[in-house]
Symmetry: D2
Subunit: 424 residues, 4 copies
């Protein structure tokens, strides 16, 4: 079994899953220097070093600290590497993570080893304990989320350097493709959405419940760079009537004229990718746009964004296939959305490539209950002024995504691999 | 017919409605000095003077300017008193309205007279023209919204003065009452919500559509000051686990420890009202709370806020009765929520007294279409990072409210008469 | 005796001086509406209303409050109209003066009358009391400073209105003149500067002391608009090498490209004056420039600004003649610097027209002692990060200025009538 | 000859001086990890990495780039490591130095080696060329300034970590001493100050010129921690009458209650030093105070700060002895001001230990001329809103200081080793 199969399989032993996920984190960090791992380029970004320690802290705090006789690797880490769990204690302020001179990267790798050994010992003993399994599973899902953040955060860090350094050189791009978007029809229905069953899902995907959805159409492909360029060239960023009021204010305040990481040089569009600057490819899905830009584009195009219920209804029966980070980290990858256009019963790139903004504010499902205790802070307290994204991106692990998976970001966020698909 | 009956009646001639609404605006401003009408105490607040001119500008721009031969009272007003209609032209910046030395208050009253005469002449001629009726009706509804804002804005202005001056002295308070909250049951159902029919409603109340709502309970009364004090005394503002993450950040940043306008003096709670400082009355509905506070209280109480669909289902068949500004402006009113507890088939204070925060982000209804042209900017472009409030307040005209009416404010807003009711 | 002679004469009875100064304040406010008097257009600006009350508060606090049996007009004014005297009590925050809805303008005029009557009664009784004389004199000098601020502040308020309203219509401009600047020579010397004698001077002009000054030359005229235009046209605002580091940062941050109140319209320069927009006159002294701009111009011109010692040495023996507010308020005045070019032994416009920035940071003279008590806060505590200006402006009373007079503002301040003269 | 003698001697060959200074920079960085060298903890602070590159850039830009055939180590460094020399080109923004992921520390050491070799080759050839000597000398003085900044900046970086890590462990503290301050008398005189002669001095120390100074007294010692504690305990930070207006605003805005790096723990004062937290020693000179605090203390003590002329007159004939970084970097040093109390004809600690704030704003001396070209930006453009400090600190090289030496910082700066001495 390769790691992807291993993680995807619900039968895999939890120990092997643990090792596979933790090893993947290491693999992601290989191209980075100690200096790269220190920098916090904006408050939303965390230093790589911090991600490495925080994901480890998660296992230490929620799994090991409960065990009799467990001795912390360093008691000060409880404070330093807590992200936002107030029930654990007051966390070190997020915006100051880039000011932490210590511990150094080497010491953080030691910390990871220390915790890995303790987890291995625990699992050797109690791998069939359901509560242990539950926390390890949650910790691994959590670490997978941070794997994606390591990539999006370091991309932002590198983009602040006027020389646009690479994370890693890219492999060859796929041959150019022509994208022809068509519309798929869905009937009005009282449908069930949300997660049910005993395999892993986050609390915010539950409970499964009914929603009434009127008939709608969904585009076969996400919006492409080429289509988005037409919007720009049609004065999209200069026409207030296309924008939400808050969106217009945002693009004016920040002087946005194109997606994040797009650069106009010598009358041509370039984009900054994890492999450095490259020419913009028209057929690729547009990426690094905010909700505001997705919404304005849709209005310009005479369409709208799908709700998350519509998206999930369309995705419900399809298998999770697409361009995920398993591709991205392989030697010949483009390190960017837009590998070969994965299709799935005529809905293309539904999973992977780019997260798709939906029209749905991130709210609790009817009857939603966060877990008791500190882990109840994982999702619920963020249900305000954010929008749901669906489907995963080229920086998400394929083993991490489900049709019911709900990601969420504020409408102005652009540093994730975020794109969108139209509905009407 | 008294003005309330006049406005409520769908048969009233549009001329009489116009005069009644415009006169009501004057009545609201009577207690204010020229100096009061200049001040903008925060960016969300507009000077009274500006409200008086802007509501007049609305009729001038959308009704009169179209008429052949119409001569503007002052061409510079198009720019000065446009609020946010980009289709009309770039508006004068909102945050600088308090810096406008001219026109003076007297000149603005002249402006109102000028426009009133022109509108009267137009209506004498064309009062049966459906498009004219539509725009006059919209302008009057618009003016009623600004009547409420004049009151909430001047309250904020006056509150900035360390001597807490009155807008007007209050009449006698009603006798103390005991509030006993009970729960009302509603069955799961696929229900219709939203506006239908040919009497006036805003675009955001349409189209009428189906929603599936599971069984729920709704509290018989809004949460009272007394109940809210218990939350405070139980450390509500010191316990992060009760708050949305953004809410916790907000109360920390602003050092909020109680609702807006509550003051702790000599170990007793007072509140600033339009009639100056007064003792807090436990049985009154709590008021001037943000969505964050409403949400935290609900969590503390083991309940939640209702969705707007739940609220509307409960309100659908009830008549619009309660403490509205028609009471507030009368000589013996308390100028504050909490007159006699209007009940309506065992749901008390559902209309009037305080706007009720719902758990629903302000989003377009399925199939929502804003009108063409500048008036399309009225509602649609604000559908982001705001929450829906229902039911009207003591500063809303009774003739302005419907069960389908959707008001909306950002979750941190507190200067409206905003309270809440629990669901579960 | 006209008021100017009256005030200038050291023999005038203090009662008459008091009345003359207080009346002058009224005269300055005549063109202003109640609304004009409310607005605070930036933190440095105070509403006219506030100036009227604060100057009155000064007499009440430092003169009347000490008298047995004095009853305050309104006890809350002690807090509201204290500017910065911590020894009197915590003052109402400066930046919030524009939020004070009460007292209204009419009430403030009553307050002035009340205090005027009390002061008159006191003076009738004790006008020969030296301490009383000292405080009245200080209060009048203080009021004269605020008379100038009323004019410069209301100019700023009016400038925020896109229609550029007038304070008052101007009289005819003087005929165009040609300005030919020459250099006057001064020998190196150990000179005395600072105030001595028993007529009034502020504490910061004392003690008289020796300074060694090397030989220098001083320009016969302040720099003119025409000369300053050449600096602009030579790229002055685009060449960092001409600027202090802090100056460069300031002009970049604020996008300054010309003096305050200059507007480029249809390829011509206009300036906003108290009489509205007018064409820029090349021969007038340049005005509303910051220290940074004065300093950069001097560097561009191969010269420098004079120190305050140099300025005072040059001014020491000359009589105080020039264009002061006594001219400005007369019916045929231009309401702007640059009436007929007052000369005084070949140094022109040394007094009046524009305050002249010097190269001297505002520091205490050797042996400086602020007075005991609250009045010690008048000057001393501002001796940091400010520069000295000399000579008075067209908005200063002629009776207020002496060769030893030290005005001071931060280097970025531009809303005073501030210009400069070169030295080398 | 040891390095100190070598550098101090005007006869030393310039090659040897070059090597000694560059080696000293390396020595200072030895205790630091690659991670430490990345962090910029506030805009005033630069990452160590940046200091290492910038000092090298200085030689490359002003010495090597002029040489025919010189090939830059990396052409992008011209932009990245320019501090503020606009004449060289637009510099990379200061506040973003901590966002530069590349070059890594190892590459910067290579850069230093590369430049060192080129300089050595140049000096082998042209060491007697006066212009070459002049620039090398300036570059070395510049590097010595950055050596001090590396220490003060990394101290600030480390202080941001809640665990207060050490730069390096300290040696034993000297035995406690009793400090008895007395006053030294100086007569009134017309004195010469400023630099003259052909050994090195910065442009801002010239020209030598006359100043008239009245009789004054100077304290024998800088103010100590013990004396400063009395000020704090007497409510110094709560009494506005002791403070400059800007100072009071600063301490209120930042909630300052003690010098930077002082911590109150368990009712005892501790201080953060380069060797971590330690008990406050009463007899040490107070350190890390702003000008505002020095000025307020002096007012409280009934004294004042000396002017820079007074300081220089007192220091003129004394030899430069004291606790400098030559002590600080030695193995048994305290890494903090207050080694054995160096005295020099009864003025103690005049040189070394702490920079002493003077009452003098940083202004050009009469007749001051900055050099032509980019090097003219070294000092002159900062002569605004800063105060002069004199005498060097424990982080300054002994070979860097002269009695005429003028250091300067804004009045709110505290992260240098800044203290003060009283005058009257």
């Amino acid at each position: 079994m390769n790691p992807t199969e291993l993680l995807a399989s619900r039968e895999s032993p939890v120990q092997e899953k643990y090792e596979a996920v933790r090893r993947a984190t290491q693999q992601i960090c290989e191209p980075l220097s100690a200096e790269d791992c220190v920098i916090q380029s904006m408050p939303d970004v965390s230093p790589t070093r911090w991600h490495l320690a925080h994901t480890t802290w998660f296992f230490e705090t929620f799994l090991l600290a409960e065990q009799p006789g467990y001795e912390a690797f360093d008691p000060s880490y409880e404070y330093l590497f807590n992200s936002y769990y107030n029930a654990v204690g007051k966390p070190f302020p997020r915006s100051r993570r880039g000011l932490l001179s210590r511990p150094g990267l080497a010491e953080i790798w030691e910390y990871r080893q220390y915790v890995d050994q303790k987890v291995a010992a625990l699992l050797a003993d109690r791998s069939s304990d359901r509560e242990v399994q539950r926390i390890v599973e949650l910790g691994l899902q959590h670490e997978q989320q941070h794997q994606e953040l390591i990539l999006t955060d370091i991309k932002h860090v590198l983009s602040c350097h006027p020389g646009f350094p690479c994370y890693r050189a890219a492999g060859a791009l796929p041959a150019k493709q022509t994208v022809e978007t068509s519309w798929l029809d869905f009937e009005e229905d009282l449908s069930w959405i949300g997660h049910e069953g005993d395999h892993f899902a986050f609390d915010n995907e539950k409970p499964r419940h009914r929603v009434f959805v009127e008939a709608f159409q969904l585009a076969s492909h996400p919006v492409t760079n080429g289509a988005y360029r037409e919007f720009i060239e049609d004065g999209g960023y200069q026409r207030p009537e296309l924008w939400l009021s808050l969106g217009w204010q945002t693009i004016c305040d920040h002087h946005w004229q194109a997606p994040l990481y797009w650069l106009r040089r010598d009358d041509r569009w370039q984009q900054f990718t994890l492999a450095g600057l490259s020419e913009l490819r028209d057929e690729q899905p547009v990426c690094h746009v905010s909700y505001f830009e997705a919404d304005a584009y849709a209005r310009w195009a005479g369409a709208r964004l799908p709700t998350e219920a519509e998206w999930e209804i369309a995705a419900a029966d399809r298998s999770v296939e697409g361009n995920f980070w398993e591709t991205l980290v392989s030697q010949d990858a483009a390190l960017h959305p837009g590998g070969s256009a994965a299709g799935n019963l005529s809905l293309h790139r539904l999973f992977g490539d780019v997260w798709e903004w939906t029209a749905s504010p991130y709210t609790p499902y009817p009857g939603y209950q966060p877990p008791q205790g500190a882990l109840g802070e994982y999702n619920g307290k963020f249900m305000c002024n954010q929008y749901v994204l669906r489907g995963g991106s080229c920086a998400t692990s394929q083993t991490h995504i489900r049709p019911t998976y709900r990601n969420f970001f504020p409408p102005e966020a652009r540093w994730q691999f975020s794109g969108f698909r139209l509905a009407r």
